[in-house]
Symmetry: C2
Subunit: 349 residues, 2 copies
């Protein structure tokens, strides 16, 4: 029990007895302990996805083996805002123990991460084209991923927020089914591959989630509509009340009922390695929401700006390295750049 | 001499004699006569470009002959904000007199439009692909355009603003050279074709203009840089203090020194015909600036939103038809949609 928990417990005990207008102490404390509360929410976040090795070639360089995977990027990104992160994944004997230690130091819990002693971790290799918007997959070695059967530990059951990283839809569904209490918000990522090979399963999961993340091509494939506005309506009819369409360097759109919000990507001088940018965006998005515990459309707008800011750091170096270096001040400064980028003041007179 | 001119003349005469802090009456009147001043600025705008026929095929329909041309779209768009528009172009015997009358009714002056009695107007034919982002040019009949030698009439010489539509760079330069007083702002459009066949001439014009409008591919071609941020720096070093990079459905970027502003395109349910959207954007941009007489970066942000709003109407019907129907209330409502689209409120705490 840390300092804050102790204060909270003692305070709550007293206040509850004397005050009919009792509010959870976390709300009050957050006014005084802003920095502290930003990393120590009582309720937590489950992230499900891959922890892997990547080999990446871009016009700016090449790495043969670097830590990657959707849940790795989501966790590093979300841990900037919320704690603990309850990780669910699978790794082989070769996943570096230093990386696991670095994640544990950020209060990323590993109880839900299965370690397979006689197999290698998932491996992906890709090469980016000159424009950095498209890439070719060179190698996909499933390794441990072929046997992945995610288990939600008892200690994760109180988690209020669930981030389903890109995975086989049946596995995403299995995680939802294992939750004893329905999370306050379920966010789901997916990709075109599952639309090609498991569309029916995918549609079943869609009925159970609140927010879907896809890119523009995937939104068109899933809906069969070229117009993104029409596509959004069709996809929201499939289940998710909120839809985020990621357009890479062209920003992201958030749809909800008949509302739409657009957040640009920051125009960057150099994009060094786009790998993980989408997962980092998702981590910043769910991290901000889990921190603020506010699932309104207005707050999701802010979460998209936060996610975009985190993604803009991710692409500055190979792998998740840059995400480990940045501070709250760095993130705030980057968010301020987004405000400047789109801020205008118009008087319709 | 209209009512406002009379008031202005009398007022100026009195005030100038008694007030050492004399300010042009237009500035003062604009506080009181907002609607009036929005369409009757004393100083005016020159637009140079083509007036043409187009044949267009899109996935939604086909027209064999419709009025088009860069100066047509710019003039219809800008005339929503400023008056008169001093048009410079060339047409053949076949250009419809009803169209000329409709333009004159909007105070679009035709003294600088040469009519060639024995030749046809410029003709362009194109077919859009399914995604509406790319098109094939099927026919380009220069006709009268082959002999175009723009002349700036004496009556246009007091114009404060100059919009150089996409034309052979030598012709754009000739218009600049004919101006006895350097306009307050020169905005220039161009295209990849001139970069292929007349790059040296184009670079000479760039030295003389304040704002350049290009699309993202053209910015890359002109600068030899893939990164738009780096491309912008290189292009601004060539002359223009402001650079607008249009990205079609992905919005537009405004660069100035080390500042950047991003305006999205409105996510539309249907894009019926994108022809003229870029010129309509340019017309709204320069129209707003000519109306407000404010060439600051802050006001250019507003001008980009106004241009984007006008462009979003243009694509709703074939040709410039939609631009003729819309009212100030329609435009204000559309601008309000842009405000909603990007508006967020973030507290860095």
């Amino acid at each position: 029990m840390g300092y804050r928990d102790e204060v909270e417990s003692a305070f709550t005990h007293n206040v509850k007895q004397n005050n009919p207008d009792y509010k959870p102490i976390a709300v009050i404390l957050s006014y005084f302990c802003n920095d502290f509360s930003s990393t120590t929410n009582h309720m937590s976040l489950i992230t499900v996805g891959t922890m892997a090795f990547d080999a990446i070639e871009t016009p700016f360089g090449k790495v043969d083996q670097i830590v990657g995977g959707s849940a790795t990027y989501v966790a590093y990104s979300a841990s900037q805002f919320v704690s603990p992160i309850n990780q669910i994944s699978i790794i082989g004997y070769d996943f570096p123990s230093e990386e696991l230690e670095a994640m544990k130091k950020r209060d990323i819990h590993m109880e839900g991460v299965e370690v397979v002693p006689d197999k290698k971790s998932f491996f992906w290799s890709g090469k980016y084209h000159l424009d950095m918007n498209s890439r070719d997959t060179l190698v996909t070695d499933l390794n441990v991923l072929a046997d992945f059967n995610p288990v939600v530990p008892e200690s994760y059951q109180s988690s209020e927020f669930l981030m389903l990283g890109n995975l086989m839809p049946k596995l995403q569904m299995s995680v939802i089914d294992q939750m004893k209490t329905r999370p306050k918000l379920i966010v789901m990522d997916t990709m075109n591959f599952w639309m090609d090979v498991a569309m029916d399963d995918l549609k079943e999961v869609l009925k159970k989630v609140d927010v879907l993340l896809v890119n523009d091509a995937e939104a068109r494939q899933l809906s069969g509509e070229i117009s993104l506005v029409k596509a959004a309506r069709i996809i929201m009819d499939m289940g998710p009340a909120f839809l985020i369409i990621k357009k890479g360097e062209h920003g992201a759109l958030l749809f909800h009922k008949n509302h739409v919000f657009f957040a640009p990507a920051l125009p960057l001088e150099e994009v060094f390695d786009p790998t993980g940018a989408g997962d980092t965006f998702a981590g910043g998005f769910i991290g901000h929401i889990a921190k603020t515990k506010d699932i309104s459309f207005e707050n999701m707008k802010r979460a998209i700006i936060v996610g975009s800011a985190l993604a803009s750091f991710c692409v500055e170096k190979f792998g998740p390295e840059r995400l480990k270096e940045i501070s709250k001040a760095d993130i705030d400064a980057r968010i301020q750049e987004f405000v400047q980028l789109v801020n205008f003041d118009i008087d319709l007179g």
